[in-house]
């Protein structure tokens, strides 16, 4: 038995040594410093079954490249640098050809005309260094809706490579401005987040301000002088009908939906005193949340609906305050130099964006909900009215240069990716929609 036991021990020790041996010869390194450069990504023109499909394929690829490029997280590799020409989706790409041009990811796709005059847009995303397929899907839609297909594919790529939801299949509602400054025409306009497909919601006969999307994207609330005094309106995107939110004796302005879409929080000015109120959209019951002789305005819900950030000059100058959604526990959170206004809670919940006026300049910045970690992202002659992308990574706002009209701009949370959004007219007061259903 002793011999058997020895053999048994021998086997155990040989196996243990084999397992343990590599653990000894290891060089352990802590990597703490990386970069924030955009990831190079190649988006090949989508192949098509016929000439029109090929054109759609080129257009879809172009929109995807532009979306990813604009995010600041990716750098679309110039197609002229491509070595391999994609001719079929079912053949794996030659990864080495894409690595040579330093493309870390590759997008290929195909547009297939369907029997019912629709198109099927299919894509595949590859990791070129890992030589593996990452994600792919197909979207069937009408040919004139190819831009949405491109945005949805962009969102899928963005989510796969960043771990966060995308924001490309979204829209912006804003105030389109035209005409001389003394007789300015301000109309509501809606467009895709990249500036495409713009259309007007309201006419030129009344001045409008501060539009905001509902969580379902089907409703927009805004302020209008349509009835003479400033009033909060609700616009139904499905029926194209609008209605006044309550008939109050004073002015109502600065409206915003609650995260569940069942309430609107707004400012009601009566007898020169502005207070924050909510209205239940089903019962139309109104509740006052603040009660202070100072101006309380610009309310914005936290994404869980439990808190509201607002703007008040009760301390002597406009500053940011946070309270529970029932109005209790009001406390100041901004203590920096300058005047703080237009606070907006991030959809991620971790930050509050604001406008700060200081030293003759306007800045867009962010701070944590407790007021700590204040960071200024942009600063100019006039930057105002931030609105968050639905993933909480990008902020859109309007910028007005001295002597020029306002235009829409976006900046990401690093503050390094500042871009102008193309609009046909001057534009102000943007509001970013949630992801479209």
């Amino acid at each position: 038995m002793t011999m058997i036991r020895r053999m048994f021990f021998g086997m155990i020790l040989v196996a243990a040594a084999a397992l343990a041996q590599p653990a000894h010869a290891q060089l352990r390194v802590d990597i703490t410093e990386g970069h924030l450069n955009p990831m190079p990504i190649a988006v090949a023109d989508f192949i098509g079954g016929n000439a029109p499909a090929q054109q759609v394929g080129r257009d879809v690829a172009g929109v995807i490249r532009a979306n990813l490029d604009r995010s600041g997280l990716f750098r679309a590799v110039e197609p002229s640098a491509f070595i391999e020409r994609i001719t079929a989706l079912n053949i794996p790409p030659r990864f080495a050809d894409w690595r040579v041009i330093n493309a870390q990811a590759l997008v290929v796709g195909e547009v297939l005309p369907q029997a019912d005059n629709r198109i099927r847009v299919e894509f595949k995303l590859y990791d070129t260094f890992g030589e593996q397929f990452l994600v792919g899907s197909a979207i069937t839609t009408t040919p004139d809706n190819w831009r949405r297909a491109a945005h949805r594919i962009s969102d899928a790529i963005y989510q796969q490579l960043t771990g966060e939801p995308g924001y490309f299949d979204t829209r912006i509602v804003f105030v389109s401005e035209s005409g001389p400054r003394t007789r300015r025409i301000k109309r509501l306009m809606v467009m895709d987040q990249d500036g495409a497909n713009p259309f007007f919601l309201t006419g030129a006969d009344s001045l409008v301000l501060t539009p905001r999307y509902s969580p379902s994207t089907q409703m927009i609330t805004y302020m209008s002088f349509e009835t003479g005094a400033p009033r909060v309106f609700l616009y139904n995107m499905q029926t194209n009908r609008r209605e006044v939110l309550g008939d109050f004796p004073g002015m109502t302005f600065a409206p915003r939906f609650s995260p569940d879409g069942n309430r609107v929080v707004f400012t009601l000015d009566m007898n020169g005193n502005s207070e924050i109120h909510t209205m239940d959209l089903r019962s139309r019951a109104r509740t006052r949340l603040t009660n202070h002789p100072a101006i309380d305005t610009s309310p914005s819900y936290s994404p869980d609906g439990s808190q509201i950030v607002f703007n008040s000059d009760r301390g002597g100058s406009p500053q940011l305050y946070v309270m529970s959604s029932n109005g209790s526990g009001q406390r100041r959170i901004s203590f920096g130099e300058g005047r703080y206004s237009t606070p907006v809670w991030s959809p991620r919940g971790d930050l509050i964006a604001f406008t700060r006026q200081s030293g003759g300049q306007f800045a867009i910045g962010v701070m944590r909900p407790d007021g700590s970690g204040e960071r200024i992202l942009t600063e100019s002659y006039l930057d105002e009215a931030p609105t968050w992308s639905p993933n909480g990574r990008v902020i859109m706002f309007f910028r007005e240069a001295r002597g020029a009209g306002p235009r829409l701009w976006s900046v990401d949370l690093t503050g390094r990716n500042l871009r102008q959004i193309p609009t046909q007219t001057d534009a102000s007061d943007p509001a970013w929609s949630p992801l479209l259903p």
Partner: protein, 241 residues
């Protein structure tokens, strides 16, 4: 994951072993005498135990010095470099190992220290402890500088401090990646519903691949010590400072 596998393996083997021994002891040895087993072991392996003890006493101070060098390489006294001798030239002693597994060896700590020393000596290709540390430190500096351009730090993701990823891989003597990088932390499957962690893992693995080839072979100091940098374990730790 590997330490877990080893611990699990040893634990299971230990359980089987104890069952085996208890069964054997009761069925064969117990009828004659309960003290037969330890006497038998000591009788078979006395020489190796005695020799090991004598050498341990002699090298005790050096083992402590080794520990202090590892903790604070700059303040530690530099022992004179000398060629290291393999510990057990006489070959593997099965009885000693068996005794160790039965927990009858009272010098386990010393043996572990010997193992550490042997590992350093083996890895350093004849280098002294200080030289090994110096080569390792230089290799780490080279790697960090190299990796800085390959790793996209996830510090712009929410709560980046938790996105720590450990990747293990081997590289060839010419600095190219050998095989596929292995993620040892977080555990596979533990971040299926955590997109931020999945992205952190993808970024780490992508960084290891993108940084291929590695510059270590070209370095005049580090290059010749392939055994030091053949297997590498990177802990990607986002720093928001």
């Amino acid at each position: 994951m590997r330490p877990g596998v080893i611990i699990s393996f040893v634990g299971h083997i230990g359980a089987v072993l104890m069952t085996f021994l208890v069964w054997e002891t009761r069925s064969v040895l117990l009828p004659s005498s309960g003290s037969v087993v330890p006497v038998e072991i000591v009788a078979v392996a006395p020489e190796s135990n005695v020799r090991a003890l004598a050498e341990d006493v002699e090298e005790e101070g050096e083992a402590e010095a080794d520990e202090s060098v590892e903790g604070d390489p700059q303040s530690a006294p530099a022992p004179a470099p000398r060629a290291q001798q393999p510990r057990r030239e006489e070959g593997f002693n099965l009885d000693e190992a068996e005794a160790s597994m039965r927990n009858t060896d009272t010098h386990e700590g010393r043996r572990r220290q010997e193992g550490d020393r042997a590992e350093r000596n083996q890895r350093g290709s004849g280098l002294g402890t200080d030289e090994v540390v110096a080569v390792e430190d230089r290799a780490r500096a080279l790697i960090r500088a190299h990796m800085r351009r390959c790793w996209r730090s996830p510090i712009d993701l929410p709560d980046p401090d938790r996105l720590v990823v450990v990747v293990e891989f081997e590289i060839n003597r010419n600095g190219t990646l050998n095989g596929q990088p292995r993620v040892t932390s977080p555990r596979a499957g533990s971040y299926t519903f955590d997109p931020a962690m999945r992205t952190a893992v993808d970024n780490a693995v992508r960084a290891v691949r993108t940084c291929d080839p590695y510059p270590l072979p070209d370095d005049p100091v580090v290059g010749e010590h392939y055994d030091i940098w053949r297997t590498q374990v990177y802990t990607f730790r986002p720093s928001t400072n």
